[in-house]
Symmetry: C2
Subunit: 322 residues, 2 copies
């Protein structure tokens, strides 16, 4: 697309054209050069959407809960965007070996936009692409955005932390709560959902979580005690309560000033990720003799330690003309 | 520790003192200020160890295979270091809720050093801490180092790519091979191990993998076709063959020049990660009015788009005195 096309694409997306919206997300995934124009055009219309993160290990039922939450919030009149940044999500891998898309109930509903995210050429990977896709949906008038991530790995935890409210989903048995604790995702939970609550060990999992919450050191700032909701996503059991707890957290965020604080933190991470990625790119093309390849070669040969090499590189970077 | 202590610690670790070694890894996890001295002292002694990465989804048997490989290579006279950077690993989460450490066979063997890695204060997180821990083990004379990571998430894939040879472990059934494909870990495999090969669907998983390998686009540079080894880690079945395939890959790396190329790439990533983390830190403390908080605030308010904010930030950064 040309620059003018980028502007028109933004206008069409803001006017409710889902195909334009999908095209914008693809441009984000590809790291297209027009992103600068697109983000400039979007900026004044952003900052309205409420963002809910959903994370948990593969197999706990994230996609089914996402579908149930979409249905619940849709019935309350919200326009809902879903971004799946889970590499194990059936949304993400849809084309591969014929996974079934479970969201087909909503596929023809113009008030629901569902999109899996990949990172093909994007500076900074999914950590940069996801907030940009958020901006697009936000500006297009989706007032509630669900981000689904798999709860293993640092990048996934960081993406979860983009949200205003984060649901951590665990399933009974199989040590899921313990796995979650190890992966550091308990700390990001605003609401816990114990899914597959019709299984025998569900009560034990709820107790384990309650103990872990009680033992957790108090965070700084206003205190919120994450509630635990039992759900059976396949039947919808517990989903209205889950939504109610999320709504309570949303109110709490506003009342305490946490909402603004989280949004500032989100913008800070987004800007820093872009700046860091741009600097990383500059490092790769510094003039010969002092660039990344040269200092890395000296490190590989044991002639220079990595800190001294990084110092040299930064020295070159801040004095070089880009 | 003081600077002098750092030097003595390095000497003791190089002399075979496992407690000094453990202390050095803790300093790395903590991002201690002495790391600069430590890395400078270590640099001339590094670059000798052979690094094997092992990755796969939770539950495929990574820790058991690691134990079996340690036993196999130990019997060949190697000194072996193990770094577990898997948040779901029983090594990593050992203290939590009394997980059993399966490696106790080797706990009293001075030629085996097993350590889980966490990232508490380290600049750049595990992506920076892991290569530093590698350097410590390398300089201390461990000639074979196994890095265990969970195969979900970008950070984990990057850590796997630190290795000279990477094993991707899958288990029959449960769509593990497909999950692996989605997470992008198939591309990093030099050797596949289908563990739990005594299960009925094992042959199907081997066939699936063979098809995926056949369909994969050819990478640039010298070609290596990843072999598939069937293992039963609990009995040790297939482990000698796995080691033999790894040895064949190690020879191939040397013969083709790939070994040097991979090591240069590893050094490049390590230096870039440190430089980027240092720049990220500088961003947080730029003089008032033009720092990260200020531009992020304008982004949160929709007055500035994130790219323009990142440009401003970089402009300030490269002209500011640190």
């Amino acid at each position: 697309v040309s620059d003018g096309d980028a502007g028109r694409l933004v206008e069409r997306a803001r006017g409710g054209d889902l195909r334009a919206l999908a095209r914008l997300v693809s441009l984000i995934e590809d790291g297209a050069p027009e992103l600068r124009q697109i983000m400039r055009a979007l900026a004044p219309a952003t900052g309205r959407a409420r963002v809910i993160g959903l994370t948990g290990a593969p197999g706990v039922g994230k996609s089914t809960i996402t579908g149930a939450l979409v249905k619940e919030y849709r019935s309350q009149g919200h326009r809902i965007g879903v971004l799946a940044v889970d590499p194990s999500s059936p949304f993400t891998g849809g084309a591969l070996l014929g996974d079934r898309i479970r969201m087909q109930d909503h596929a023809t509903d113009a008030s629901v936009f569902i999109r899996s995210m990949a990172s093909r050429g994007q500076l900074g990977g999914l950590a940069a692409a996801t907030p940009q896709a958020l901006r697009v949906l936000d500006a297009a008038g989706f007032d509630l955005i669900l981000i689904e991530t798999v709860g293993v790995g640092q990048a996934e935890v960081e993406i979860a932390s983009l949200a205003d409210s984060t649901i951590v989903l665990v399933a009974p048995g199989m040590g899921d709560a313990i796995q979650a604790a190890k992966a550091g995702i308990l700390e990001v939970a605003d609401v816990f959902a114990v899914n597959k609550a019709d299984r025998p060990q569900a009560q034990q999992t709820v107790r384990d979580l309650r103990n872990m919450i009680a033992l957790a050191p108090a965070a700084e700032g206003p205190q919120w005690k994450p509630p635990i909701v039992a759900t059976v996503a396949t039947t919808g059991e517990g989903v209205p309560e889950l939504a109610a707890r999320l709504d309570a957290h949303w109110s709490w965020l506003a009342d305490t000033g946490e909402r603004d604080r989280r949004r500032l933190a989100r913008a800070r991470e987004e800007v820093a990720a872009l700046a860091v990625a741009a600097l990383r790119q500059r490092m790769g093309r510094l003039p010969g003799g002092s660039g990344l390849d040269e200092v890395a070669g000296q490190v590989a040969d044991g002639k220079l330690d990595p800190y001294a090499a990084a110092d040299q590189l930064i020295g070159t970077l801040v004095t070089a003309k880009d």
